[in-house]
């Protein structure tokens, strides 16, 4: 990282650019009302006015420009009472606007916005009689023109400031296809930032090493650019992505979905790793900032050099890259109706969910099924009725189905607001004459199966201690659960210590882990098609539910669970994603991987990583880093689906809790994303400190 980039990073971390933000509110509503605009037109007008209200900022030290000057609040396009009427009886996904998908950036770059505009013009002729289609296409054109006008203002200013390099680029792109790597990054910066201006969030960047590679390769081949200069441009682009993190909505700051997915295979099935794949990893490692978040697609054959480079990035403690195993993910997607070509083209959403850039309008997280709640219902119901263990499993499966149904029914009423600009960036919306809100190629819903290890441990404990060994009478267990183990310390110890636990490659516990996900998959399959013509995709993630499911959260559809039979007291957190339950004794990462490899991922394809913390002492020397690379390869060899590997020093975290001012730059992985430790809520900080450390010190 050269000095210019170092200073740029320091300026962004210090928040210098925030002084440029204006405290204005753009009024879009008045004109919408006066003109009596339709919803699509209001959405288009919003993009137009936001683009116009942006002030041009060209910092002489920057080669890639665009600095947001508008505040976080997105101007309303409806009066509250009208909005209430519009959305009455409907379900909005999170904040409302389309979020957490990935555009077809490669398509937009290669066609240029004018190429997209021609496509819209052609479609307008084809759909001449179709009022809705015509309106959508006119709105799409309106947003294209708005973005082009913004680019033109930047170009004029650049020319005036004596920056012909920038002016040349901005006069040509994003209207036309970029002629250089630099121009491609500049175009992407602008196109991407405007999506945020429209109120969308978790705006994914997809397979950047694929769609930008042709531009970089041409530059390198012709000698117009050398590798260090290319790295510098890439670094600058990455820094730019960090400028506005504080404006973006998320459960915790840092949860902003600016993810990149590297590697894997091409749509035709060939190895997709290229020099840019390596370059992104190097630049991300050297920069050590929270954005963009990196995913790396691998197979058991991925070479150790690439994995070693990735391990060096892990060593930075940013909590990425996150790995996914193509050999498991692609067949899973195909089994859920994705075409083989599209499945090979998958990228990773904000956290871990798999989606197809340009083609997926999947809502990948409509909520979580609380597996601990379902198991608790099974155990309490079964034991109270004096029934056998099979009855417990049956009640558990029924409760899982019940929870799935609640989520799916809520989303049967899903209302996605029109998104004319995002539609321009997708594959085929313009060509079909249909707004993205009406759907894309894939319109599936994802459901998390949260708290799996705790839930499986509870079943395993009851099976062994209540049924097989009969060391705990059913009534006593029920009484202990009701009392939150008060006065039942011995019984609690028995449940916690004397029963098999997930994470030890022990079938006595793992069989319930796989059973729970099979129940979830059964329930999703049984539900069938949704109103949007899609299916329900079960997954293994937990997101923030490892906290919410035990502590509750306003307006949450998911049930809250009290004390559970694996010896967990009320309020104690669950495992995040796929990890042994907090406090469960495990031998280390190999057995844990082997446990989680037993899940039938062909049926459970929404994503959700195995989460592991390695002590930072593991990364002391190159040989150990190579071993981390081998561990990642082992993850793929064993047949797991997704892995999130973190480097953690507990002493540092404790110190950061005590002296946050001294650890402003300390970054940690939270659930599917990374953020600054000191900016997290205390309960999230605690969970990170308490997470399993696979300590490997000699």
């Amino acid at each position: 990282m050269n000095e210019r980039i170092g200073q740029m990073k320091a300026r962004v971390r210090a928040g210098e650019h925030r002084a440029l933000r204006r405290k204005i509110t753009v009024d879009v509503l008045s004109e919408c009302e006066e003109e009596g605009l339709s919803w699509p037109w209001r959405a288009a007008r919003l993009i137009r006015r936001q683009c116009e209200a942006e002030q041009v900022v060209i910092d002489p030290r920057e080669k890639i420009v665009f600095t947001r000057t508008l505040p976080a609040v997105i101007p309303p396009i409806y009066k509250p009472e009208d909005w209430a009427r519009l959305t009455a009886g409907r379900t909005l996904h999170e904040l409302g606007p389309i979020s957490n998908i990935c555009a077809d950036w490669g398509l937009v770059l290669s066609q240029g916005l004018l190429g997209r505009k021609s496509a819209a013009m052609a479609a307008l002729q084809r759909f001449a009689g179709d009022k809705a289609a015509v309106e959508f296409l006119e709105c799409a054109v309106e947003t294209i023109d708005a973005v082009l006008a913004l680019a033109a203002r930047y170009a004029v200013a650049a020319r005036r400031m004596g920056r012909p390099d920038l002016a040349d680029i901005l006069e040509r792109t994003p209207a036309h296809a970029p002629r250089s790597f630099h121009a491609a990054l500049q175009a992407l910066r602008l196109l991407h930032a405007v999506v945020w201006l429209g109120g969308h969030y978790h705006v994914g960047l997809g397979r950047l090493d694929q769609y930008l590679w042709p531009y970089l390769k041409a530059d390198l081949d012709s000698g117009r650019l050398d590798v260090p200069a290319a790295e510098e441009l890439l670094a600058e682009f990455f820094i730019a992505l960090n400028k506005d993190s504080d404006l973006y909505p998320g459960v915790q700051q840092g949860d902003n979905g600016q993810t990149i997915t590297l590697g894997g295979v091409t749509r035709a099935g060939r190895d997709a790793v290229n020099d840019l794949t390596h370059m992104v990893l190097r630049v991300s490692r050297d920069l050590a900032m929270i954005d963009p978040k990196i995913n790396l697609r691998i197979t058991p054959q991925t070479d150790l050099d690439l994995l070693g480079l990735a391990a060096e990035l892990t060593r930075k403690g940013l909590g990425f890259p996150q790995y996914s195993n193509d050999e498991v993910v692609i067949p899973g997607l195909v089994a859920h109706g994705y075409s083989l070509e599209d499945a090979r083209d998958y990228a990773v959403a904000a956290c871990w969910e798999f989606l197809i850039p340009g083609r997926g309008m999947d809502v990948v997280n409509i909520g979580a099924v609380s597996l601990p709640f379902a198991v608790d219902a099974g155990i309490r119901g079964g034991l109270a009725a004096g029934a056998g263990f099979d009855a417990i499993l049956k009640i558990t499966a029924d409760d899982i189905a019940r929870q799935v149904k609640i989520l799916a029914e809520a989303y049967a009423q899903l209302l996605l607001p029109p998104a004319p600009y995002y539609s321009v960036l997708m594959t085929g919306c313009i060509e079909r004459g249909q707004d993205l809100a009406q759907g894309a190629v894939y319109n599936n819903f994802g459901i998390h199966g949260a708290g799996a290890a705790n839930a499986a441990d509870a079943l395993a404990a009851v099976k062994r201690l209540v049924f097989d060994e009969q060391r705990i009478p059913p009534n006593e267990l029920l009484a202990a659960l009701d009392a939150d183990y008060a006065g039942h310390a011995e019984l609690r110890r028995l449940l916690a210590d004397q029963a098999p636990k997930v994470g030890n490659n022990d079938d006595q516990a793992d069989r319930y882990l796989t059973a729970l996900f099979d129940f979830l998959a059964d329930a999703c399959e049984h539900y069938g098609r949704t109103n949007r013509g899609g299916i329900l995709r079960p997954g293994t993630g937990s997101a923030m539910y490892y906290v919410w499911l035990v502590r509750g959260h306003p307006n949450m559809r998911e049930p809250v669970v009290g004390a559970t039979a694996e010896g967990r007291k009320k309020g104690e957190m669950l495992s995040a994603n796929l990890a042994p339950a907090p406090g469960a004794g495990v031998r280390g990462p190999i057995s844990a991987l082997q446990s989680f490899a037993k899940i039938n991922y062909r049926r459970v394809c929404n994503g959700g990583p195995i989460t592991m913390e390695l002590s930072d002492t593991v990364f002391r020397d190159p040989e150990s880093i190579r071993k981390v690379a081998m561990l990642v390869r082992a993850f793929a060899q064993i047949g797991c689906q997704q892995l999130q590997l973190n480097s953690l020093n507990v002493a540092t975290l404790r110190d950061a809790q005590a002296h946050p001012e001294q650890h402003k730059n300390l970054i940690v992985r939270v659930w599917g994303w990374s953020g600054y430790f000191c900016e997290l809520g205390p309960e999230y900080q605690e969970h990170i400190v308490a997470r399993h450390l696979y300590a490997c010190e000699s």
Partner: protein
């Protein structure tokens, strides 16, 4: 059926030999090194370790079959990643029959013996016939100093080192650097002199003393009373080994 007492099984032990390894820690050690960082490994019977809030029992009795079964479940993964199984301690020579039986029950895999060398010659030979590599701890060459700081003399250690040197099994000599005790130029020179010319010697590893060593004592219900000055700076003199034409690493 032989049984043994194990105080920990730890996977992905990156500093316990080549590749991805799983280390079995055998409980019980005849030495009582003043700097020992595995105090729960010294006693040969299970004992309660009470940490903050929770307590656990260190020391589980396994039959050779049961332990081998656990290890065999991951042999393929270790094998595919240039690794294997390490037997450490405590002192594995002390449970040599058990260790040998476990090894005989394991599928084909790289085995590393991590030993203090303290044990009978027959125990040493029993295991040498079964292992692919040895980490041999060499602490002090001076007999009296050895007795003072570890509670035992080093006769059998030096004899087993010689046995190892003749066995043809590749090995690494590991020297824990304890300030003012093992890190003196005199001791390091004596170590270099002792190991020089032994066939199979791959290199010498120097392991700087870790101040966290005392951390586990209280939890194990023991008292940490080092008879050396913990704060004294270490003498990491690799030159002595280089001069003797020995490859040396500092871990």
């Amino acid at each position: 059926m032989t049984t043994g007492i194990v105080f920990d099984i730890r996977e992905f032990a990156v500093h316990d030999g080549p590749g991805i390894r799983t280390t079995v820690f055998l409980k019980g050690c005849p030495l009582h090194c003043s700097w020992c960082h595995n105090p729960e490994g010294q006693s040969s019977v299970p004992q309660v370790i009470s940490g903050a809030g929770a307590s656990r029992v260190a020391g589980v009795e396994y039959t050779a079959q049961a332990l081998a079964a656990i290890l065999n479940r991951q042999v393929a993964v270790l094998q595919a990643n240039e690794g294997g199984v390490t037997f450490s301690g405590g002192e594995p020579l002390r449970q040599a029959n058990f260790v040998a039986e476990v090894i005989d029950l394991l599928e084909e895999i790289h085995i590393l013996l991590d030993t203090s060398g303290y044990g009978s010659e027959s125990a040493m030979n029993l295991l040498l016939a079964r292992v692919s590599m040895v980490f041999f701890d060499l602490k002090l060459i001076d007999r009296e100093a050895h007795r003072h700081f570890t509670g035992c003399d080093n006769d059998c250690i030096l004899r087993n080192l010689a046995v190892l040197g003749k066995s043809g099994v590749p090995f690494v000599v590991r020297v824990p650097l304890v300030p003012g005790v093992t890190d003196t130029d005199a001791n390091l020179a004596a170590v270099a002199e002792t190991v020089r010319g032994l066939t199979g010697l791959l290199r010498v590893d120097l392991l700087p003393y870790n101040k966290a060593a005392g951390g586990k004592y209280r939890a194990a219900g023991m008292e940490f009373k080092p008879c050396f000055d913990e704060a004294r700076p270490l003498n990491i003199n690799t030159g002595i080994f280089k001069k003797a034409n020995l490859e040396v690493h500092v871990l």
